[in-house]
Each structure stands twice: as structure tokens, then as C-alpha cells.
Symmetry: C2
Subunit: 340 residues, 2 copies
DNA sequence: TTTTAAATTACAATCGTTTGTGTAGTTAAT
DNA sequence: ATTAACTACACAAACGATTGTAATTTAAAA
């Protein structure tokens, strides 16, 4: 294990002091041009790489930011990470990604790890099972900037970048109504996490706004592709079959479409289907799925920009903001046209 | 910015030396039970978190491993990361994820960052545009363990975990042949990256094995969903229409299916379609897509296990191995049954 | 009681940087 | 010629932990 080159090695080689080498490499004006040049050349040839560990320790600052997400392989979150990466990278920061696996205990461990790594700041989307925020409060207490995104706590203990789920769902259902649908079922989650609550809220508000009776019987606890494949047949064979299904996510919508077609029900003529999230799947089903774009890449960008801002302006630590990311309705083939 | 608690703070509080506190927290036998207990209690109450930065610097070792992938939001890679995370996490390591964006320059930068962060080891899947491996050679020269996965260099400059693309493609095409297909087109990539080359190799070998003439005219440069939607109509309207299409990935296969159905061609009766990668999409198209499972989660696990092994046994650094991950044919509805 | 061993804890160096301060040597101003 | 002001560098102390060694206390053995 050949150790990597250090400032000391360079200093020894030129019979200079370590501090001179350090300053030379950072182009300090007190070092002569000549010395700087020869040191720079030597460093380049011998591939000197500054030791961030030592540097961070000494400077009492960190060039790494940490992110906690429920599940890395979830396409939505991976797009958020891509957005985060895109700005982190341009600011000479490094990203440490941790995954909570939707478990509170794991999430707590993630926080410990990031705190022990003395990250400059933390971004987090909380897990479904998190019912206690002490670990995040500890982050705040330690003076480490924290920004929540997508899945945020209701109480604003830190900055939040929230996707406007309620409005997104409203837009979706409103559109279904305008295309002539009268009986719109909701495939969603009973979960108490905010996004589930808000999407349902939007669904209900749209119905109310357009004077459509809200029928509890066509609200189903179904938020996965598999579950949709299980229950859709029953739903569509029921006496008062819905003429539209609004699903909490695209996977669920895809499951609905899959079954509906098997039953010979034509989409969107006999059944309109709308998803949420504009997932990867929405353009590849047949018909493609009308959905709500949540702009995850943009969300990631905005969240980390806020974080970097807080890192660079520590005096603003008590200035807690909430940013709302607006969604957009993406029309595809699984819904009909607006009837005038 | 309230600084975090340090060993010194604890030492001061009990009027002990820093070294005693350090040893006490690591349960060193030379420290009395009594002292250990009171220190442990105090540390817990005041939420002492060891400073990994300082610890790593002093111990001249690192508890972080770095990974370089072409694109985070690619589902295949995100599943690999999930696999990596699953073992990293159980070994008290931390993961730093970097993204090369399929660009050599960015990839070089990733290497620099990881090296500067003095990671314990690096895992990498090389970018499509990488035509020079100097940066990876530098990793090796620095004595930092390196394991390639999926997209590996042809020359074994470090450990590799390779997915058996050639065999996977062979299995797929063999199956198509056994179901009675006589004219199997290939939708693939002209790219010079190994996975493209190997999948095509497997395709050709299967044809040869079963005495089917290899026809250059039905090998298409098409490896995306969009491209497939563009060219499939022409392909299927050609005079000698293929009775099967083997696509280099599932997105492409999905595009084929999408168009074929529009043309009223029944799948799999008139056209069998087979994808590769067992992507997320394969179960949601109609019909669902027969595909090759590459076991990305498993691949990630194996690669990082090898890396940890090399980290823990530095004396084996010249013992370069290549591990082959076998693929599996997943039968779904887009292909017919074997005819006897 | 003296010697020796064992049990605790303190001291100090170190990891690789950064940074405040000190000090030669040179040049310019008085 | 004397002082002042630079220039270009060296010295040394940090950052927070780890670890070999020394020192102290206590207990056991002679």
C-alpha cells in the first residue's frame, strides 16, 4: 500500500517548509512565482491529491453533503438524486447517499453516520414508518443545516421543499371531470404520510368543486402495481362501474390498465385512467398514461440549492422556509378529451 | 454553530485525559469498569458522536467506499447500488456515490474526488465514452482496491464482476428458435462497449448453433424506446418480415410491441419479442415481455463483497479475479411456447 | 517492610492540512 | 547610513482522534 503523496513529501523534496508548499498550491500571494511554479509542476507530475480528510479536519468544515432517502431504486428518488448531483458537483461538494429502507431505525442510523462524517448539511425524505423526529431535531441542534424534500414533517423543524400533491391531484381529477367522467374511483393509500393524504385531499376537493357526490365505496386502498392487478377486476365488474380511475401513482395505474384490457374494456372510451408521478412506465404502457409530473430532478436541484445557501449563510439558520414545487398535468392516451 | 462534543470536552468534564476517554469508549481493558461506565453514560446523554474524519486521519484508514456509475437514474444501476448498500451498511462503511454522466472527463473527476476523500476502495462501471484507463490505473497505483462491475475494461487491470451478456443473449435467441421462429431480427447498438458486443455475439452464436443463416439486413442499430417506435413499422412492413425481434433491452422491446400492436400484428403469434435486462417495464407492457434477468442487486452485492475482501486483505492486491454473473431467462407473454 | 507486579491513567507524538505569527533578506524612503 | 516596508519563507499550533510509552497508584508477593 504505497501511501499517497503529501505536502510533507513535496516540502522535503524542495527543502521547503510544509506551510510554503501548502500556500504555493493554493496560489497564495506571499509565495514567489518561481516557487509556486516548481511546486505546481512537481505536484502534477507526481499526482498529488489533497487529503480532504485532513483539510476538512483542520478547516473545521466539510465539503460533503449527505442525503437520506427511503429507497434508492425508486425511480422518483433516483431522479431527485440526479438533480442533487447536478448542482453538488458544480460546487465542489461530494454526496454521501444513505438509504432508510422505509425504517425508522435505519433512518436514525443514517443520521448518526452522516453526523459522524461531519457533513456540511443533510437532505432527507422521511421514511413511511417514521413517527418520531428526535433524530432530525438532533441534526438541527448540532447546527447542521437540514432540508427536507418530498416527504416532509408537518411541523417545520427545518427547511422543506414540498411537491404540491394536493393541487396535482386536483388537476388530474378536474381534467377527468372535464372529459365527461362522472364516477371517478380513487386508488390510493390509507397511509398517514402526507403525500397520500394530500393527493386524496385533491381528489376530494375536485369532486366537491364540480359538484360530484363523493362516494366512499369507490376509494380503494391500493397503491402498487400488484395490488391493482388483484383488485381491478372486481372494481370493474361491480354494479356501478366507475368510468374513471385516478391512481396515486403510475405503477398502480399501469396495473389497472393491464387488467382492464384483459376484461375487454376499452381505454379511455369506457374507462379513463390517470396516474401520478409521471413515472418511467407512463409512456410505455398501451395506452400511455396521463399523469402528473412532479419534476423530481428540479425538486432535487431546488432542495440542494437551498441547503448550500444555508451552509454558506449559517447566520440564517433560524430562517426556515417551505418551498412548494408545482406539478404539471401530462396528457396521454389513457384519458379522453375535454368535452365542451 | 454549536460545535459537536469531542473527547476533549468529556475529558475536561471528568478531569481525565483524552486518551483515557478514547480508550474507555472503545472498551479498552486497561480502563476501569467504573470510569468506562460514567464516560459511556455521559457520552450517551450528551450524544457524543465520534468524528470519523479525525479518526480516519489518525488511523490512516477509511470507512468509506466510493462508487462510480454512469447514470444514477438508470434503474439497472440504482438496483446495483441497492445491492451495494445492503452489504456496505452491515459492515459499518459509508458509501459515496458519484456519477460519470457517460463522460470520460467527469469520470476522471469522480476518481480524483474519491481519491482525495481517501476512500478505502472504489467500485466502477465505466462510461460509454471512456477510451483511456489511466485514471483507473492511478487508483491501482495508489494501492486503492478497485472492482469493476457490469461495464468492465477488457484488460483486467483490476477485479471485475461481469454479467454474462453473451450467454444471456444466446439463451434468449435459442429460446426464440425453439418456439419455432425462423427469422429473428436484432435491435441492438453499434456501440463498441462490451455489453453491446457480447449480446450481439450471443445472438449470432445461437443462430449458428441452430443452423440459421445470419442475415445482416435484419440487424438494426436501435437501442432505445424512441428509436424502436421510429423504425419498427418499416421493419415489420418489409417484404421478408421477421417473425421475432430480439432487443438489446426492454425499453426497445416495449417500443417494438407498441408499434406492432398498432399495426395489428399479434404478439407472440405473428411476432415474438424478447428483451434484455428484465427491466421494470417488462411486466407492465401488454403482453408482458420475455426478458433476461441480469440480477443487478446480486451483482452489486458480489462486487462490493469482493471489494471489502480486498480492502481487508491488502496483501492480495495482485490477485485479480473476474467473476461472471449468470443471467436467467424470464418467460412472459411476448414469446410463444416451445414446439417439440 | 521492601520489592515486584498489576491496574489505571497521563503524556506526547502523530495523521495531513491550514493559518497566525515570526524572521531573515532585500529594497526603498528619509 | 538608518529606518521602514516589503518579500518570501519558516515555525508552530491547531483540528479530534489514536496509540506507544511513561508514570502513578494499588495490590500482592517475598
Amino acid at each position: 500500500m504505497k501511501a499517497q503523496l503529501t505536502l510533507k513529501d513535496i516540502a522535503l523534496h524542495f527543502n521547503l517548509s510544509v506551510s510554503t508548499v501548502s500556500r504555493a498550491l493554493r496560489d497564495d500571494p506571499t509565495i514567489s512565482r518561481e516557487t509556486k511554479d516548481k511546486i505546481a509542476e512537481y505536484a502534477k507530475i507526481h499526482k498529488y491529491k489533497p487529503n480532504f480528510i485532513a483539510s476538512n479536519l483542520r478547516k473545521q468544515e466539510s465539503n460533503v453533503i449527505g442525503i437520506i432517502i427511503p429507497e434508492i431504486s425508486n425511480h422518483f428518488f433516483s431522479l431527485i438524486i440526479a438533480g442533487v448531483e447536478s448542482v453538488v458537483d458544480n460546487n465542489n461538494y461530494t454526496l454521501i447517499i444513505t438509504q432508510s429502507d422505509e425504517r425508522l431505525q435505519k433512518e436514525i442510523k443514517c443520521v448518526q453516520t452522516l453526523l459522524s462524517s461531519r457533513v456540511a448539511g443533510i437532505m432527507a425524505s422521511i421514511s413511511k414508518t417514521t413517527d418520531n423526529l428526535d433524530h432530525f431535531k438532533e441534526v438541527v441542534d448540532n447546527g447542521v443545516p437540514l432540508v427536507f424534500f418530498d416527504r416532509c414533517p408537518v411541523v417545520p423543524i427545518a427547511d422543506r421543499v414540498i411537491i404540491n400533491d394536493e393541487e396535482g391531484a386536483f388537476m388530474a381529477v378536474e381534467y377527468l371531470i372535464k372529459t365527461g367522467c362522472k364516477r371517478i374511483a380513487y386508488f390510493g393509500s390509507h397511509s398517514s404520510i402526507e403525500i397520500a393524504i394530500n393527493r386524496k385531499k385533491g381528489y376530494i376537493r375536485a369532486l366537491e368543486t364540480y359538484g360530484i357526490a363523493f362516494d366512499k365505496k369507490i376509494i380503494y386502498d391500493c397503491d402498487t402495481n400488484e395490488k391493482a392487478k388483484e383488485i381491478t377486476a372486481d372494481v370493474l365488474n361491480s354494479r356501478k362501474r366507475p368510468d374513471a380511475i385516478f391512481a396515486i401513482n403510475d405503477n398502480t395505474a399501469a396495473g389497472v390498465i393491464y387488467i382492464a384490457k384483459r376484461l375487454g374494456i376499452s381505454i379511455p372510451d369506457e374507462l379513463a385512467v390517470c396516474g401520478f408521478g409521471d413515472g418511467y412506465i407512463s409512456t410505455n404502457t398501451d395506452p400511455s398514461i396521463t399523469s402528473i409530473d412532479q419534476f423530481p430532478f428540479f425538486t432535487g436541484k431546488k432542495a440542494v440549492e437551498r441547503l448550500l445557501y444555508k451552509i454558506k449563510n449559517p447566520e440564517l439558520k433560524n430562517d426556515i422556509s417551505t418551498m412548494i414545487i408545482d406539478t404539471s398535468l401530462i396528457l396521454r392516451a389513457s384519458t379522453g378529451n375535454i368535452v365542451l
